[in-house]
């Protein structure tokens, strides 16, 4: 029942541009989770198959756009929480460069990784949303002073495309993301996307790729253990009364946090404790440096890098719930981008058969820092020229029959 006393800068900017805020959506609480099964309220169903998860943590925002309950939505992406649900729900998910959008008013999970991201049913819609919310904010010391170009002028109708609109685009496919551990049908969808880009797409190797996952979880849980210490039941939230301060904290926090959140705080507390800082947190920071450098090298010789957005399509509800490591494994495609602070765009490119239903698959395009314009241009052209796929969930298909 908490009512925030102020609007986040991103929301304030939206209101100023005339946006109509329809409501708030479901998520894994505090951004911790990949399915919305960690929500304090309920699990959100995937509009493509109600027995499947929409992804997470911003699963509600993805599902709402997928089911056309709203035109666009905001989410937050710390380790893939916008991009993975976009893939699972067959919508466009955009993660801006770290510093592109003010985080003032965003509940902090991991401050060196969090960004606010955009969902839309088309690249143009996601781009329009980004345009409205980005820019420097004096209330966020990590927001960039870089000038914001007009992204939206390049969303032209495909009738006006040149005959080879992506000629000369240097695409790198991250080879580590198309091997073992990735669903075969996901791989074929990505390969389909690559050939649609009319590029042989020379392969790029990022050898540090898989080490980013444990590094991410060390950093994220450590930073969250610090960020979530403010939830102590004293100034806001539900208070579990006690005679004594320590147990007021202990009881209020135990009552307010779900099990996944508690575990991550405990793991973060461990990784930051005296004697372990060097072994875990500092080493994870060093892995971050390696990841940043390898992306930079690859993006010096390529315009964009490509990978799947997730190693599989949406899971069934309950499938990963009791298995934290299995859940974390699904983030492999997305976390490195957060470590490096780069922008990335996920758009639907194909399907995976799941019994009698189809589940969408998204591919991820990663760009150089602050290069959202290029990502959006390529994404728009890809989407507008993609034949034979419509990404409207069967659930609502009737409303779209002409």
């Amino acid at each position: 029942n908490y009512r925030p006393p102020f609007d986040a800068t991103a929301v304030k900017k939206l209101k100023e541009s005339g946006a109509i805020i329809v409501g708030k959506t479901n998520l894994d609480e505090f951004g911790m989770g990949s399915t919305t099964e960690g929500s304090a309220y309920q699990v959100t169903a995937n509009p493509w198959n109600l027995e499947c998860v929409p992804g997470g943590s911003s699963g509600g925002s993805a599902a709402a756009v997928s089911a056309r309950q709203c035109v666009v939505s905001l989410g937050s992406d710390t380790g893939g929480s916008v991009r993975q649900p976009a893939s699972f729900c067959g919508v466009v998910g955009l993660k801006p460069t770290y510093g592109r959008v003010s985080r003032y008013g965003l509940v902090a999970y991991a401050s060196s990784l969090d960004v606010i991201g955009c969902f839309g049913s088309s690249v143009a819609d996601a781009g329009l949303l980004l345009q409205a919310i980005c820019g420097h904010d004096k209330l966020d010391a990590t927001s960039s002073k870089r000038e914001v170009n007009d992204f939206t002028s390049q969303f032209i109708s495909k009738d006006y495309f040149e005959s080879q609109p992506l000629k000369g685009l240097r695409v790198g496919v991250i080879s580590e993301t198309l091997g073992d551990g990735v669903d075969q049908e996901v791989i074929s969808s990505i390969r389909g996307a690559i050939s649609h880009l009319e590029e042989l797409g020379c392969t790029v190797s990022l050898p540090s790729f898989s080490l980013g996952l444990p590094a991410y979880y060390v950093l994220a849980s450590s930073e969250s253990s610090s960020n979530l210490s403010r939830y102590d039941g004293v100034r806001y939230g539900n208070q579990i009364a006690s005679d004594e301060l320590s147990s007021l904290y202990g009881g209020s926090r135990a009552n307010g946090f779900g099990p996944e959140v508690k575990r991550r705080i405990l793991m973060g507390t461990y990784a930051l404790s005296a004697g372990y800082y060097d072994a875990y947190y500092k080493r994870a920071q060093q892995v971050r440096t390696v990841v940043k450098k390898s992306f930079k090298a690859a993006l010096d010789s390529h315009d964009i890098l490509i990978s799947p957005a997730a190693p599989s399509a949406a899971y069934k509800i309950g499938e990963k719930k009791n298995d934290p490591l299995a859940m974390y494994a699904g983030d492999i495609m997305t976390v490195n981008v957060n470590l490096a602070g780069l922008p990335a765009l996920v758009l639907p490119c194909g399907f995976v058969k799941d019994g009698t239903t189809s589940l969408p698959v998204g591919f991820q395009m990663i760009g150089a820092a602050f290069d959202e314009e290029k990502l959006l241009r390529v994404g728009h052209i890809f989407e507008q020229t993609l034949q034979g796929h419509s990404f409207i969930p069967p659930l609502i298909a009737d409303e779209f029959k002409s």
Binding site: A141, L211, R253, K262, L266, V287
Partner: protein, 146 residues
């Protein structure tokens, strides 16, 4: 996991080109296989990490000011142990002479002028306080432990 890690370690500390070759051994496949092994609970070799004590969930909970029930503590311990074991991969890699990066550092960062502004919605802040007696936010006594 333990013996393989040892094998990887010995050449590592002798070579200059180890950084890249190390990482290529940690392919995707390895990540999933290793996670599978840990999840099945069959791998408990601490030979590489013996200097690091296992997480003491009760003590961590006290530090983090979260009151866990005994049942929760019991349920969490193996899950936390699994993840911490998995974190152990970070020990097996040579990161000598790599600078730690505290943030992505994509040209972000600037401080605003240090001039105070009055917040215009104090009533809403006060309305959210669980235990308030104007002008005080109330908390119970602090117990002196030592």
């Amino acid at each position: 996991m333990g013996s393989r890690a040892l094998l990887l370690l010995s050449p590592a500390f002798r070579s200059d080109h180890l950084l890249i070759s190390h990482f290529t051994k940690y392919g995707f496949h390895q990540t999933f296989r290793q996670m599978e092994k840990i999840r099945r609970g069959g791998v408990r070799d601490y030979s590489v990490h013996s200097s690091l004590e296992r997480p003491n969930v009760a003590r961590l909970a006290e530090t983090a000011r979260i009151s866990l029930t005994p049942q929760e503590a019991e349920e969490f311990a193996p899950k936390i142990q699994q993840v911490v074991d998995w974190f152990g991969q970070l020990q097996d890699v040579d990161l000598q002479s790599v600078e730690p990066a505290i943030r992505p550092d994509t040209e972000a960062g600037s401080f605003r002028e240090d001039s105070p502004e009055t917040f215009d919605n104090r009533e809403a802040i006060i309305a959210a306080i669980p235990s308030y007696e104007e002008p005080y936010i109330k908390v119970p006594k602090v117990l002196n432990k030592d």
